[in-house]
């Protein structure tokens, strides 16, 4: 092999599987060995399904041998945030409240991967119920950032970001309500795609906020997210938020470049934002220059105040989250971790009028973004405003408000992808977002792929002081 097995992308590993040069069992054994060696340091997995994974892998190899090919994820190990229901496999939401929860049915996403013959390695750490964390008062430890384990990996899809960055999986599923895919992707230096609202079924995924929840992948390369999207996208009549739209070819614009595309840059959102570091800003400006050199036109644009988007999203999110957890908050509130408790209780303090006004404002804010996307093909903007914070910088008695600007596109529903832009002097990753028109993920992915190819940042991986597997 030219490189270690975990360094092959889904596309590369898929080609090797189909040519018979590797087996799914070999890929899976390698991944399980890495999890055993590295995960004690980063705590990205809550449950490792080794036995099932090896059985999945053997079944995939048997299908390859018979000439049966169910799709690009066949034989590929992956993992799911532990809010995705998995039949017969504990699904805890990283919470004491669901410690013994073993679903009878798979979530739609889990079922789609299973139907493709993908290999499920296990369930990943999350901030409790996709909201709290990073907490030390829960049944499982918080995931840690593979680039520096003294730092947070971001959340709430904390285990997904950490596991992908550490090379334990090529792709892991996360969920994004206020930035829970793109935050970990930013802090861990991976791709994180929040698809258009309604493009991926949320059925069987424990809800945080009905009208803001999105399911999407984190991966090491843009193409791997595109492959995952091809498997999981599609209308689900049993998900009330699901959109009945054609599923595009997510790899259709990979390799087509950015020449002639117009990119809107709402610099006023992040240039003077509290918590923004000079390194982050410089990296975004450099990224814009790179895309301009590749042939795109960069146009600075004005949007409504960022704080309006953030406030609108939080008012809706807290309200819907509390409504979901109301009964438990009345009967067993102290079973929640402190951060979750402090965040979610705020939903009880939002009035009906506040919520209605937020819903009215939401339409206006979405309209403003979509208006800009009439003349711009995508927007590029900040994701995290600073590298990942250290655990030691967090106040254990107050939930952290980390500087990150992801909420606007949960509010508007547009597809938004976090992509690495470089590294801080500390070695921690930096990032930006690429935001597209509703259901135009192919353009977002295409621009991301062009930037990725121009920078090759994905080739830099974290190293570990522990003895690594093969």
């Amino acid at each position: 092999m030219a490189k270690a097995l975990h360094d092959y992308s889904i596309a590369e590993a898929g080609a090797l599987l189909r040519s018979g040069k590797i087996t799914s069992v070999a890929l899976t054994e390698h991944a399980l060995a890495r999890i055993k060696a590295i995960d004690p340091v980063i705590s990205s997995f809550i449950t490792v399904t080794a036995e099932g994974a090896l059985a999945d892998a053997a079944a995939a190899d048997a299908n390859f041998a018979k000439g049966i090919d169910k799709g690009p994820m066949q034989g590929i190990p992956h993992a799911l945030k532990d809010i995705y229901a998995t039949a017969g496999i504990r699904t805890t939401c990283h919470s004491k409240l669901l410690l013994d929860n073993i679903p009878k049915e798979d979530s739609v996403v889990a079922a789609k991967f299973k139907a493709q013959g993908a290999v499920l390695l296990g369930k990943l750490a999350t901030h409790e119920f996709a909201l709290g964390g990073p907490s030390f008062d829960l049944p499982f430890p918080p995931a840690r950032n593979p680039w520096n384990t003294n730092h947070v990996p971001g959340g709430s899809s904390s285990g997904s970001g950490a596991a992908v960055a550490a090379g334990l999986v090529r792709m892991a599923m996360g969920s994004d309500t206020g930035g829970s895919i793109r935050g970990p992707a930013s802090y861990c230096g991976t791709i994180g795609l929040k698809p258009t609202y309604g493009l991926v079924s949320r059925r069987g995924v424990f809800p945080l906020s009905y009208s803001l929840d999105h399911c999407g992948p984190l991966s090491w390369t843009v193409e791997d997210s595109a492959i995952a999207m091809q498997v999981i996208a599609g209308f689900d009549p049993q998900d009330p938020g699901s959109a009945n739209v054609p599923v595009p070819d997510f790899r259709g614009k990979l390799g087509t470049g950015v020449r002639g595309l117009r990119l809107g840059l709402p610099r006023h959102w992040f240039a003077k934002a509290e918590g923004a570091t000079a390194e982050t800003l410089r990296a975004i400006d450099d990224a814009a220059q790179t895309l301009a050199k590749l042939g795109a036109t960069i146009e600075e644009i004005e949007l409504p105040d960022y704080e309006l988007y953030n406030a609108c999203g939080r008012v809706i999110m807290y309200s819907e989250a509390f409504a979901i957890h109301e009964r438990n908050f009345q009967t067993r509130p102290l079973d929640y971790g402190l951060y979750t408790y402090l965040r979610m209780t705020l939903g009880a303090l939002v009035t009906a009028t506040d919520l209605t006004q937020a819903m009215r404002l939401r339409r206006e804010l979405a309209g403003a973004v979509n208006d800009k996307l009439k003349s711009c093909d995508v927007l590029i903007t900040a994701s995290a405003l600073a590298p990942a914070a250290a655990f030691s910088d967090l106040n254990p008695n107050t939930p952290p408000n980390l500087p990150i600007q992801t909420m606007p596109f949960d509010v508007t529903g547009n597809p938004a992808m976090s992509i690495p832009t470089g590294f801080a002097a500390t070695g921690l990753p930096l990032s930006m977002q690429i935001v597209g028109r509703a259901f135009d993920e192919p353009t977002v992915l295409g621009i991301g792929a062009a930037f990725e190819a121009a920078t090759n940042l994905y080739q830099r991986r974290p190293s570990f002081s522990v003895a690594e597997a093969a």
């Binding site: 309604g198 009345q330 209780t345 009028t353 819903m359 939401r362 107050t398």
Partner: protein, 71 residues
Amino acid sequence: MSNDPTSDPALNAEFEVLTKRASLVIPETRKPALLQGFKELKKMTALMHRPLTAANEPAGTYDIRTVTRNP
């Protein structure tokens, strides 16, 4: 009590009413952090109360086709 609705006593009183209405029993040790969070929340909800037009119609905001429609 101060007439200023953002004063600490006023926020405290509103907090007590809203938590009682939600049938929540708040441990005393958790009140300071929750009140701090409530203050931040009030700043956010204040931003929601701004001039809005008939076009700001909230029905169907769960539907991407209407969320993303143009103004």
